[in-house]
Symmetry: C2
Subunit: 291 residues, 2 copies
């Protein structure tokens, strides 16, 4: 009997998505940063994302930071499609021994992230977990994107440059909790550059870039020496640590100069290019089920 | 230090909803069966709902039935607002020792419910839980409702009759897993009757009716002898067992006769009426955090 721990995260997702029905409303189904639905020029982004104590945050972490992260992860996915946050639902799955103060802190963090970046909480759910079970906070909801601004993972073409924002690796030192969802940057990119494909970096470049390339039906070449390393971090960490929540995108133009004019304080680095065929493989990156 | 187990589910929800921001898109915020967003005649319903092993289903239950329940609960909430299902996202939080066969069965059940009642799965997420942790399946997504068909919990008026569909109590014997979300019935009700308020019965009439009455700013009187009891079930169970997933609604008209013409196979029972003031209290019903 095969276990999900043996199948791995991508294998599990591929398996459950194999038999799904679709409808005329579905513009982008499973496999991208968000699902996209609608029929007109104004499309809806649908996203759900969860954080679990002991997996995505330490059980003794400050709840404000956990709340920020839980919401910012979803906002980062709206950004990755070229969209903006709308209304969110929050599911709290908590053991009864969790303190009310902790929940208050969690919501302070969530509301603070939304006040800064847009979006409102319109509902959700609470459910009890058996005593001793790690807390889980799941955030779902909708974002908005116009059809002309929509960017998926699948539009990359051979010859496109591969870019990443910010610095990669070492997020465990704190950035995985207090990162900035790149909504402004993504909005500028879809309005001003020939962006062909985009996603956010949640599992590490080594795992996420092959996903983007596979969805685009192309290969890639990475210039490892060019990778923008966070302070004190090596190339392997930059490739594999994950939880950078930076934008990974491809473009048929050289956009570095215009970027630096608009966002002088945030690095933009060309890390390689898309190529025909299967390109190279990178080892590393985070898998939720393999250990 | 106060714990969520001492605060109770309604207390916890009231607390976290106290400080929420809102926006011009929000038609109905927290507290109803779904959130409602949008500005035109076609509104969007947003809903998230989770089932947890050991809480909502037995760990050795057939996964097909668990999948059906996980999806049908959300569809039942769309029905309760007068709407229809759209696109859903599924979050699987699983320990690595869960079998792939179990996940296959879960999706069979979910897809089977959607094929019968409408709606498609467009994405979701998988996350690992520590070994030994109970499985959690969270379903979120959007439904559709026209502004004229929208029914909330808050429109009940003194003098309205209180109705319930089907039979109450004893759902633990199996109905909590294989119930029919009352989408057809709700669609007919919002199109054909003067429905003033509606919700679905998930926590038991004793807990859900006071919620509807409170949202409507009225009291209620229940005729206990009139309650439609499931076979072999007493009044206390009908009030308190929960997970009936029947419609509870109020109407300013006597609609029993027209109902019986349209739905001859499903009971509709007038169980009381709304009154001015605070009415009576009922004990019982399910609370996720109090034990």
């Amino acid at each position: 009997m095969k276990l999900v721990g043996q199948l791995g995260e991508d294998g599990l997702i591929a398996r459950v998505c194999g038999d799904l029905a679709t409808s005329s409303q579905v513009v982008v189904g499973p496999g991208d940063d968000c699902a996209v639905v609608g029929t007109g020029e104004d499309l809806v982004l649908l996203k759900t994302d969860a954080v679990v104590a002991g997996v995505h945050f330490l059980p003794d972490e400050k709840p404000d930071r956990v709340g920020w992260k839980a919401v910012a992860r979803v906002l980062s996915d709206f950004a990755a499609m070229g969209g903006q946050p709308g209304e969110l639902l929050v599911t709290l799955a908590l053991a009864p021994e969790v303190s009310v103060d902790w929940v208050d802190g969690l919501y302070r963090g969530m509301n603070s992230c939304l006040a800064r970046h847009g979006g409102v909480i319109v509902g959700g759910e609470t459910t009890s977990l058996p005593s001793g079970t790690p807390a889980m906070i799941s955030v779902a909801g909708r974002g908005m994107v116009t059809r002309k601004n929509l960017v998926t993972r699948s539009g990359g073409r051979p010859g496109d440059s591969i870019y990443v924002t910010g610095w990669l690796g070492g997020s465990i030192r704190g950035k995985h909790l207090d990162f900035t969802p790149r909504l402004c940057e993504a909005a500028w990119l879809v309005g001003n550059g020939a962006i062909t494909a985009m996603m956010d970096l949640s599992d590490g470049l080594a795992k996420d870039l092959p996903r983007l390339a596979a969805m685009s039906g192309v290969g890639f070449k990475i210039e490892r020496e060019a990778l923008p390393l966070s302070k004190g971090v090596g190339i392997e960490q930059a490739l594999g640590d994950g939880e950078d929540y930076e934008l990974l995108f491809t473009s048929s133009e050289e956009i570095g100069e215009r970027w630096r004019e608009r966002f002088p304080d945030l690095a933009l680095t060309r890390v390689g290019c898309l190529v025909q065929g299967t390109g190279e493989a990178i080892d590393g990156g985070w898998d939720h089920f393999r250990r």
